[in-house]
Symmetry: C2
Subunit: 334 residues, 2 copies
DNA sequence: ATGAAAGCGCTAACAA
DNA sequence: TTGTTAGCGCTTTCAT
């Protein structure tokens, strides 16, 4: 099982080394006879082309850099797995870069990305202030932001229709008869957090309501503290829209176990993402679905399209998705 | 931000190309003056050595292949994140390979691993029948199995002390006064599943008890069905040891919501892993901790040691860890 | 300590 | 279609 080179295969097959190369290069021409001889010799020797050498010449590594900040939120492991599967099926692989949402860190990651000559980059759970994306795009590497958008620019992104989703939630809660709504938002440094909030608040503003909002930072502790604060205020809400499921679980835990409140009787809760855990009976959370599968497919398509043809214009895709009613809300008044 | 080569840096610094190389090669010699000139020119040009070219010569890619079967169990995303952080700090990165636990798939993954010339391999949530590990080891690539062992062989592995853990659980449940114990085991094709089961059953055998066991396959549905079956039998258990937390959550859901049973009053439940979710109030699960941090550190150390010195003998490390008592069991009778 | 020269394993012109 | 040739960007002898 030692290193086998194309030259050795060539000798064994009685052809030139470049003939071997052609047989293993998708778009190359070789006679049926040559192909057969080479394939035979190759399997006998256990030959496979060396990716590194190939990458060095073609400039294509068939490696996609995945930049990810945290994996505590169940949504991201799921996405990672699906992305990996989808890319693997297309002959690509994911090189993982963990990055804090800080400036210096982003620079370092950026350099590493370039070092490895990744063909493309997917960023997930990375904030929008990050010029990392900008700089990679500037370096000519296709970038797709997964589950994050960026205000009016030239970077591809795939998200769900977050603004619309926020509106849906507001309309739904109103239709349930709730009148004192509140919002524990996703991190205000992320488009996702902002959009959900603005959609939600817009509808309520149309109804003349001003909504208390606390930034939950996509973090359990922060969200739990926010929930406590809201419920202990003079006019506690009768329904809370939480910026994602991950925080919503923390809110539910706090409401039920710390404050002894009943959900949805005392407060209704709506989350965002519809991660698997949301459907488990222990939480049974009403939530806006994010269609991970479709988001992943779109991300992969977009990225590979741009890799194959760099002239392709960046796109910003928003996928609509339904509200999933479960046990943390009462049905709408009819 | 275009491609900058060592030759360009050399010209600008007024030295030879090999001088530049030496400055960027850890163990090489260069005068202070040369180093300074080169460093200056390099930063001005934004030069960084090309990993691919370097990898091709040295045979070291600084890439670690991570083979992983599924990420639904919270334990693995957590491990992935920690592994990535630890390796990144040492200048390595993780290339992800998702693989089903099937023979043909393993072969394919194995080839891809070799194609990318990974310096080392970590397998997680991969079964033991997989000769993938054997073959990689045979190909001279250091392999560490994370959270899996393999019966008496020459591959490094890092696990918790699963057999001992199983024993702990049995002794604990007996001390709580339970007399009708049962076990929903981890996948019997994994050492982890087997060891936990054998430790657990060994203690009970010593007490003359024969324990009903159903293989939960590390799967929610399978575990839930097993729990239902057990509770509906003529002599339902008064305590169930579930092979990991991921399944234990499913069991708790079924017990509480489908069967209307109270935990721990009707049945006590113990899991294994102590994933973050186990500590959340909604489950508040008593469980054997697996010390992810220490397991990750050990894995990284072991792997890098073997990469740096291939002569190092493989090791099988078992890390002991405590039982974390929470709300799904009653304290021991005193 | 430094430069010149020889490749690592492969792809991509270029002729034939 | 095929073989020959020239590199990709770098590390590493080998002289100096």
């Amino acid at each position: 099982m030692e290193k086998v080179t194309s030259l050795q295969v060539a000798e064994r097959a009685g052809v030139s080394q470049s003939a071997v190369s052609r047989v293993f290069t998708p778009g190359a021409s070789a006679s049926a006879k040559t192909v057969e001889k080479v394939r035979k010799a190759a399997t006998e020797l256990g030959y496979r082309p060396n990716m590194m050498a190939r990458a060095m010449i073609t400039g294509k590594s068939r490696i996609i850099g995945l930049v990810v900040a945290y994996l505590d939120n169940q949504f991201y492991p799921l996405a990672l797995q699906l992305l990996s599967n989808a890319l693997q099926a297309k002959g690509y692989h994911i090189l993982v870069f963990t990055a804090a949402n800080t400036r210096g860190d982003a620079d370092e990651v950026m350099q590493q990305l370039l070092d490895y000559q990744v063909d493309g980059i997917i960023t997930a759970s990375v904030g929008m202030t990050n010029d990392l994306t900008q700089r990679c795009a500037a370096a000519g590497i296709p970038v797709v932001m997964f589950n994050r958008g960026q205000a009016g620019d030239d970077i591809s992104s795939v998200t769900s229709a977050n603004k619309l989703g926020g509106r849906h939630v507001a309309e739904f809660l109103l239709s349930c008869g709730h009148r004192r709504l509140a919002h524990i938002s996703g991190w205000s440094g992320s488009s996702t957090g902002q959009d959900r909030q603005s959609g939600f608040c817009a509808v309520l503003a149309e109804h003349g309501q001003d909504v208390p909002v606390i930034d939950g930072m996509f973090d359990r502790e922060t969200a739990a503290a926010a929930a406590r604060k809201m419920m202990e205020s003079a006019t506690p809400p009768d329904a809370i829209f939480v910026g994602n499921d991950h925080m919503a679980f923390a809110v539910l835990d706090t409401l039920r176990h710390d404050l002894g409140l009943r959900v949805p009787d005392d407060v209704a809760i709506v989350g965002y993402d519809d991660v698997p855990l949301a459907a488990w009976p222990a939480y049974n959370l009403t939530t806006m679905r994010q269609p991970v599968n479709r988001m992943v497919d779109a991300t992969v398509n977009m990225l590979l399209t741009r890799i194959e043809d760099p002239a392709t214009a960046p796109r910003r895709l928003e996928i609509e998705s339904p509200l999933i009613q479960r046990g943390t809300t009462k049905g709408p008044k009819t």
